[in-house]
């Protein structure tokens, strides 16, 4: 065994210190948000800079946020989009990816046609006109679900993973008299559960985080997904819906903590599931990387 030299150890320590710094820099903003959301609003507004812990303890901001009908309807709409959008994503992506993993004459041209769209797009305006004016999906959930039905990147990941399934399995199923749909359902998909998990996660996170299409196409507040509500509160600084009936003095105080509490309420689901699902996300990148 080779002995570790001094410079070796010095490097290790520096490296560890750098990594610790990275952890702190990455996590501090989240820590700050949690502490600020629990803080007493009047003390929070007078405070500048870093927070070591909560300033006082006050859950009023959370009460306000949870009582806000917009947050509730935002959650509802986002869940709707998440469930139906992801289901449509999986259906189309799985069928397409399986098809593309099989041999047929138009496979190559179709594949080229798909790859081409990764490098050249029609752009925002024609897409907007298509969805809003020609399909007439303005102010409809369809505008948020269907145009995002397939992500080319995910399609390629899934196809790559399907291609790894031994041809012999599929051939023997064919001999048993299974059709292509049967093979997809009974052989390919059950063998591809990990990649399906990755797909659900990728598409799901995509739906959860998406806001721009909703801003373009949705006008009815009742249909706003959560991120659009968040944009109002966090970016446009509009917390009025949660301050019904406040006298002016109170408003200024509670406004800051409401912002933080809103971030928490909207981000907690991700923060909770993230540590458990993280390895699936990573797996997706790996599968994609193999082919690229």
């Amino acid at each position: 065994m080779i002995k570790r030299t001094v410079s070796d150890r010095l490097f290790d320590w520096t490296n560890a210190a750098l990594m610790l710094l990275l952890i702190v820099v990455t996590l501090y903003p989240f820590y700050h948000v949690i502490m600020a959301s629990l803080s007493d609003s009047n003390r929070l507004i007078a405070h500048q800079g870093l927070l070591a812990g909560p300033l006082g303890f006050n859950l009023e901001a959370y009460e306000r946020v949870l009582a806000n009908p917009n947050i509730f309807s935002g959650y509802r709409n986002t869940l709707f989009i998440l469930v139906f959008g992801t289901a449509l994503n999986l259906l189309l992506t799985a069928m397409g990816a399986y098809g593309l993993s099989r041999k047929f004459m138009l496979r190559k041209p179709i594949m080229i046609g798909i790859i081409f769209t990764m490098y050249f797009t029609g752009g925002l305006i024609p897409t907007y006109l298509l969805v809003n004016n020609w399909l007439g999906w303005g102010n409809s959930m369809l505008a948020l679900i269907v145009p995002a039905a397939i992500s080319t990147w995910n399609l390629i990941i899934m196809r790559t993973s399907f291609e790894a399934i031994p041809e012999s399995l599929i051939e023997s199923a064919k001999i048993d008299g299974s059709g292509e749909f049967g093979i997809l359902l009974r052989i390919v998909l059950p063998l591809s559960m990990p990649v399906i998990a990755v797909m659900i996660l990728y598409y799901g996170v995509g739906h959860w985080n998406s806001w721009f299409n909703a801003m373009l196409f949705i006008r009815d507040r009742e249909l706003f997904p959560l991120q659009l509500i968040l944009r109002e509160i966090l970016v446009q600084n509009d917390t009025s819906a949660m301050q019904l009936g406040d006298a002016m003095g109170d408003q200024q105080g509670i406004r800051e903590s409401i912002k933080y509490a809103t971030i928490m309420v909207a981000t907690l689901p991700i923060l909770f599931v993230y540590p458990f699902l993280q390895r699936f996300f990573v797996k997706g990148v790996m599968i994609g990387a193999v082919k690229e």
């Binding site: 410079s7 490097f11 290790d12 490296n15 990594m19 990275l22 990455t26 996590l27 903003p29 989240f30 948000v33 800079g49 870093l50 189309l92 992506t93 069928m95 397409g96 399986y98 098809g99 593309l100 099989r102 004459m105 138009l106 179709i110 046609g113 769209t117 050249f120 797009t121 029609g122 752009g123 925002l124 305006i125 024609p126 897409t127 907007y128 006109l129 298509l130 004016n133 397939i150 399609l155 292509e180 749909f181 996170v205 985080n209 806001w211 721009f212 968040l230 944009r231 509160i233 966090l234 970016v235 912002k259 971030i263 909207a266 981000t267 923060l271 540590p275 996300f281 990148v285 790996m286």
Partner: protein
């Protein structure tokens, strides 16, 4: 043709399966490409694509003559360059450093933590950025500690690009390193062993073994980056900018969004701008790919 018909009937099920996908691409990807021809027309919604009169290159001319032309080009390129210079090496360095960590648990903690920001929605991230860079925010406080003066950082055009690029690195650093880590896991450990026997130090090993192992993937990603030079996503821009920062913040895509949808419905003009951007991107991508194939043998296709 006959062969195609034969294939169609033999692989009916397959064609049926890919049909929805093909329709999706035709409708949502290729139709907008066709729709881009309104860039050469004076388009009005009531007359439709075909019914609107042709205007030739007038819309492009208007863009080139516009006072905003150089500004959006400059901003787009500058942000791209900053991202390339600072944002591109960062995850490579992180991956190399992570690769040197011996304690498996520590390594996986660092990884888990550093991937996290990638999953937080852009709206929340931008909300945080706006808050932290406000007059009373954390960043201002730190600047004050360092002897600077408090200000609303995103209220002035001077800081926009640095904040935009830095926060982008913060959010994507960990996640972007995965692909490099994947490449590193493919390097034969015996190479390191041999190097150590030869008396190569840690830096020497990183330089002669780790980095060369990453070159192919670095090249591929570089090609993609250069192909996307003109393509700064507008979502984060429009969440962070305001009229005071347009001077340094407005990029081609945000300009298209603002002129086409937010402020006016000048569809033809903005389609021309968008098309201009798409074509330049495509040309850059082909160029980068050709260059990389010539120089390093790595290529996208």
């Amino acid at each position: 043709m006959q062969k195609l018909m034969q294939d169609l009937s033999r692989n009916k099920a397959i064609y049926l399966m890919v049909l929805p996908m093909v329709l999706y691409y035709v409708i949502f990807k290729y139709f907008p490409m066709y729709g881009s021809i309104i860039a050469f027309k004076d388009f009005s919604v009531s007359k439709g694509i075909l019914g609107s009169p042709w205007t030739g290159l007038e819309n492009f001319q208007a863009f080139f003559d516009s006072i905003y032309f150089w500004r959006v080009i400059r901003n787009t390129l500058l942000i791209s360059v900053y991202q390339l210079v600072f944002g591109f090496p960062a995850p490579i360095i992180l991956a190399i450093l992570l690769n040197e960590i011996r304690k498996k648990t520590f390594k996986s903690i660092v990884q888990t933590v550093s991937y996290l920001p990638h999953f937080i929605s852009l709206v929340v991230i931008c909300g945080l950025i706006l808050d932290f860079t406000s007059r009373d925010g954390i960043v201002s406080t730190i600047i004050e500690w360092l002897g600077g003066e408090r200000s609303t950082l995103l209220g002035s055009a001077d800081n926009f690009r640095s904040i935009f690029v830095t926060s982008g690195i913060w959010q994507e650093l960990g996640w972007s390193s995965i692909i490099f880590l994947a490449a590193l896991s493919g390097i034969n450990p015996e190479l390191y062993e041999a190097a150590r026997v030869d008396g190569a130090g840690r830096f020497r090993q990183m330089w002669s073994i780790t980095l060369p192992g990453l070159v192919p993937i670095i090249m591929i990603l570089l090609i993609l980056r250069i192909g996307g030079m003109m393509d700064i996503g507008f979502e984060k821009i429009i969440l962070l900018y305001n009229p005071n920062t347009y001077e340094t913040a407005d990029v081609i895509s945000s300009f298209v969004y603002r002129k086409g949808i937010a402020e006016g419905q000048d569809y033809s003009f903005t389609s021309a701008v968008g098309l201009f951007q798409a074509v330049i991107n495509f040309v850059l991508l082909i160029g980068a790919n050709w260059f990389s194939r010539r120089v390093s043998g790595n290529r996208l296709w």
